[in-house]
């Protein structure tokens, strides 16, 4: 008997191992940003809604950590997370918004209806900033420290259980 007769069985066993492991894992389709730990890229976005300032990289370099929320008025999970953003704001978090492919009137209508937790909202009409920070959808929330470095990324809508995590990350970013 030659050893290589066992090779196919060995390879098959390897496949079985990986497949079994993966079956037990929850399937996650999230594409994490590789920009976590790196400084925000340079950008300067127009104001997305009347009466609110726009957003630029410089706004993040004043020593205060912030949440950067990527959202859009046409995005339904964003409605779901609106109350949680409100809670974060009440807990003292400063939230900067970037609205993806959005019209000022739609943004204003959304804020009127679901509340406005933001201090600034930039309009990213071509997803340029979204691509530059490695975000792959809406909504996503980044924790940015006082020097403008990305410290944490939350993918998907924020639920009640994520609020303490985000507050903790925000605090870590302030230390």
């Amino acid at each position: 008997m030659r050893w290589w007769w066992w090779l196919p069985l060995l390879l098959f066993a390897g496949f079985l191992g990986v497949a079994t492991y993966q079956l037990t894992q929850p399937k996650d389709d999230l594409v994490p940003s590789a920009m976590v730990g790196k400084p925000l890229p340079e950008f300067d976005l127009r104001a997305a809604a009347e009466g609110m300032p726009g957003v630029s990289t410089a706004d993040f370099r004043d020593g205060k950590p912030r949440l950067l929320n990527i959202w859009a008025s046409w995005c339904l999970p964003c409605i779901a997370e609106a109350p949680q953003l409100e809670r974060l704001k009440q807990e003292g978090a400063e939230i900067v918004g970037i609205a993806i492919r959005d019209r000022p009137e739609d943004v204003a209508a959304f804020l009127a209806r679901h509340g406005n937790p933001y201090t600034r909202i930039g309009g990213d009409d071509l997803s340029q900033v979204q691509l530059a920070i490695g975000s792959s959808g809406v909504p996503e929330t980044f924790v940015i420290d006082g020097r403008g470095v990305i410290r944490y990324q939350h993918i998907g809508d924020i639920r009640a259980e994520h609020v303490p995590i985000l507050l903790e990350k925000l605090q870590e970013a302030g230390e």
């Binding site: 594409v31 920009m35 046409w74 492919r101 998907g156």
Partner: protein, 165 residues
């Protein structure tokens, strides 16, 4: 079906699903696609809002210079649409794929090389965004195994054919 699973599908429209579900339909050869479509169907009525801006200028427009357009096209075919399932940005109707096409075309027009653009995206999204794996710490087996296969094929042929003489 758990909510945790559903949560991961963020916004179906965002993901260019029209294409993705169709494709899965024939591929899944029936059941699963039918089921998936059905589930998406349950979700979708609430998600009927319209995306409010028209597509980016160069999402559906070619560059004037045919050589540059060809360069951009070749690159786009090898970049993964991040909100779709296994489609390149060159064949997806997802809004984000359109914005990525716009990025690629304007950067190529500005004289950037395709490989620089790919590197820029890989820096942001990791190897996942590129369909053309390069030899790296995580991908070397993709290239080592074919070499082994070639060596193995050579060895088998050599043994057989030499013995046959």
């Amino acid at each position: 079906m758990s909510l945790a699973r559903l949560r991961l599908i963020r916004d179906p429209r965002e993901s260019g699903d029209r294409v993705r579900h169709l494709r899965s339909a024939w591929k899944a050869t029936s059941a699963f696609a039918a089921m998936a479509l059905f589930l998406i169907g349950l979700l979708a009525p609430q998600l009927a809002a319209q995306q409010s801006l028209p597509p980016a200028p160069y999402a559906y427009r070619q560059l004037e210079d045919p050589a540059k357009e060809a360069e951009a096209q070749a690159l786009m075919e090898t970049l993964r649409c991040l909100t779709c399932q296994s489609q390149s940005i060159a064949d997806s109707d997802a809004a984000m794929a359109g914005d990525m096409r716009h990025q690629v075309r304007t950067r190529i027009a500005a004289g950037e090389t395709p490989e620089a653009i790919r590197a820029w995206l890989v820096e942001r999204y990791g190897d996942y965004v590129s369909y053309a794996p390069v030899v790296s710490e995580t991908t070397w087996p993709l290239f080592a195994v074919p070499l082994l296969l070639a060596a193995g094929a050579g060895a088998i042929l050599w043994r057989r054919l030499r013995r046959a003489r």
